[in-house]
């Protein structure tokens, strides 16, 4: 079922949007409860971790009080959510810094990575997918399609390790890791972004290639394309002029789904390339039992995915002509 179909059938666009919004808000609330509950049952006491070995039980208890961990869970939850409503993610009891600005900073790095990864995926998938579809009966098409199958099976971290070995350690062309903010040095920023983006985008590109291929194959069977070929257009010009816009439909849908996958992949790739993104912040915070930070990060990720869905739905509801007519 596509998003459009889910929305279609509603009454007015406004009502459809309102319904979508209620669902979105409800999902966010449920997500916040689930995230909080997970943190509460996670083994390992934050106070104990902060104090380390040799800490006395009295001291751990005192620190638990300072952190507010001795309060009832419901109070802790409401306190946290109350802060979130005013944009306050709380102050980490591990780093003793406000979590919000830190989260925003890390989110920036991750979004650059995801965006660049997506770009790489598209640059790989669109040309190769088209070639694989147009030449699907010829050896070259089969080879491309088989190569994409192999690409799908390679995890992003493995691609990352191999790329670092070849391009950073052996050839020395690119840095093996680290992050330079674009505002500081655009060249260094780009050089540092290439390998992570390629590791992330390679796998997604391989996945996407298969969708592009099947979408183009479907379009090629359409009457209007057969007419275009009958008119005398050669296969590629016919496809470019009449087919690609149609083939883009399922591809763009997949692209939305892949955004979530890319976020998850970014967590691992950030680790390998030592990028200070949301993923590495999440891993560090879990290790340090910085529960407030973990809650905040996970919630941001969940809300991000929900938001993508919501916005797509809203755009459909507002602009879909069938809905406008009713």
């Amino acid at each position: 079922m596509t998003t459009a179909e889910r929305v279609a059938g509603g009454a007015s666009p406004a009502a459809a949007i309102a319904r979508r919004f209620v669902i979105f808000v409800g999902s966010v609330i449920v997500a916040s409860i689930v995230v909080f509950a997970f943190m509460a049952v996670l083994p390992g006491d934050p106070a104990q971790v902060a104090l380390g070995v040799n800490a006395t039980p009295e001291l751990v208890e005192q620190t638990r009080q300072e952190f507010g961990l001795d309060r009832p869970l419901a109070t802790q939850y409401l306190d946290w959510v109350g802060g979130l409503l005013t944009g306050d993610f709380g102050t980490s009891y591990v780093t003793k810094e406000a979590i919000g600005p830190q989260l925003l900073d890390r989110l920036g790095v991750t979004l650059w990575l995801v965006g660049a990864g997506m770009l790489v995926a598209l640059l790989i998938a669109v040309p190769t997918g088209i070639v694989a579809a147009v030449r699907h009966r010829k050896p070259s098409g089969v080879v491309v399609s088989a190569a994409s199958q192999v690409g799908v099976a390679v995890p992003a971290f493995l691609a990352a390790i191999i790329l670092v070995q070849v391009f950073a350690v052996q050839l020395g062309w690119l840095p093996s890791g680290g992050w330079t903010p674009p505002a500081y040095d655009v060249g260094a920023w780009l050089r540092g972004l290439i390998l992570p983006a390629v590791s992330l985008g390679l796998v997604q590109g391989a996945v996407l290639t298969r969708y592009v291929r099947s979408a183009v194959l479907d379009v090629q069977r359409e009457d209007f394309l057969r007419t275009a070929r009958a008119k005398g257009l050669r296969p590629y010009p016919a496809l470019v002029r009449h087919g690609l816009r149609n083939a883009a439909v399922p591809v763009v849908t997949v692209l939305g789904v892949q955004l979530a996958t890319l976020l998850v992949g970014a967590v691992v790739v950030e680790r390998v390339f030592v990028l200070p993104g949301l993923g590495s912040m999440l891993l560090d915070s879990v290790a340090a039992r910085d529960l407030l930070a973990v809650q905040g990060i996970v919630l941001v990720l969940v809300v991000g995915v929900l938001l993508v869905n919501f916005l797509v739905d809203v755009l459909y509801a507002v602009l879909d002509p069938r809905l406008r007519r009713s």
Binding site: T3, P43, G44, D45, Q48, V49, L51, G52, V53, N54, A55, T56, P57, L59, Q62, V94, T95, K96, E97, L104, D105, R106, L107, G108, V109, L111, W112, G115, I161, V164, Q165, A168, V169, G172, P175, S176, G177, P181, A183, Y184, R245, N246, V252, T253, G256, V272, V274, P276, S280, D284, A287, R289, D290, L307, V308, V312, L315, D320, P321, R322
Partner: protein, 510 residues
Amino acid sequence: MATRRSALSALASAAVLAAPLALAGCTAGSTAMVGTGPSTLAVGLTAEPQNFDFTTTDGAAIPQALLYNVYETLVKVDSDGEIVGGLAESWDVSNDRTVYDFQLREATFSNGEPFTASDVKFSIERVQQDWTISLKSGMDVVDRVEVVDDRHARVVLSRPSNSWLRAMTTRIGAMFDPAGVADLANDPVGTGPYDVESRRRGDSIVLTRNPEYSNPESPRPAPGYRTVVLKYYADATALNNALLSGGIDVISGVTAPDSLPQFEADNRFRVLQGTTNGEVVLAFNNRRAPLDDVRVRKALTYAIDRKALLEAAWGGRGELIGSMVPPTDPWFEDLSGEYPYDPDRARSLLREAGHESLRLDLRIANLPYAVSSAQVIASHLKKVGVTVDIEPLDFPAVWLQQVFTDADYDMSIVQHVEPQDITTFGDPDFYWGYDSDRVQRLLTEADTAPPREYIADMREVARTLSDDAAANWLFLFPNIVVAKNEVRGLQANQVSESFDLTGLRRQGTS
């Protein structure tokens, strides 16, 4: 219809993608960065400080970065484990060994305030009053601090204590300025050669020369590098790759010994190997059957071939020790031969204790040295009829809770890095569950005894622990530093809590 829908969908995706990217452009550049050049040193480390406040946050990461570099102590330990002067030019100890008179050198805090005896009083009293980490107990023995004059501080102990001066070389001896403790977690103020310039969480800390460190009033050699970037790599391979690809100049401590041959074979790099204070211990739960039986503990000690274990688990790097004492402690005695590998003897000891076969859990920290050691131990113990269930626990959080706090374990493996942590065996509530009147009495006596007896007593403690097989000391973790050839002044032994940057310089500079 299909065309319209695809356009909408593309538009939505583009909007979602583009909005945060625009946001990222504004936020990602908030930290000042420094360039690379001959006056900059980039050091790769593994454990990143969560904040800069080691008075309330435990762990090795903060003192590793800040001690001796940003904060200085009255006395420090050199690479041979000797106590030498730091902010104290000299010190005298009274005959009854309770009064320490420190003559202080001229120094200035990075906020411009002069360092005086009243800062000594402030810092020591602050440990007793405001610190929360357990190491603060090292300051319990201080009765009072007197400001004789600006350059002369007198510390009076409630009883003689041999361990106190040594504890003053650790983070609890760090000197603070009353005007510099407002935001310890983010803004450290010390007298050291470096000052924290900026940090990027998950990435690096930038230290720059403290202009107050060397000035006409307090002449001392300025540090060799103008800027030091401490870069943090949670992953050992990423750390190695950073050095190989020129991203850093030094690896402060190699945690993947398999990678060493590639550095040793490469003439761009130098490899230094020395000792640490990190005893990798196979802990026995002395309180829980069957490990409360000394025969079982001895059997488990005879049954493990530590030399083979070190070879298999850590590439043969490190030293065999035999008790809770690294070779740089003054009371070190080589006890590594006390329990030679002897599976027959292990089997007969187990039989004597009434165990034909045993099943024990081994709850380890999920760290590379512990995981690889555990596998060797399981295979060695199997040969003497002991089945081992290995259970890696998330370190530090879960390990601290389950093994350290609740003592819910039979055996565990973790590296104990604190200096002089042999004293933990004097605490019956520590997770070892080791309750020995003799060791407790010896430790108390040792601390108040005259220096020579102190050494003899501590030696006796170490020997008793070995005789009791209170734990199985698998090996001493090696300190392995890899650096580009031009970096000079690195020390092989890691005996303090600090990665001391003071003496580092580029070859060809003075």
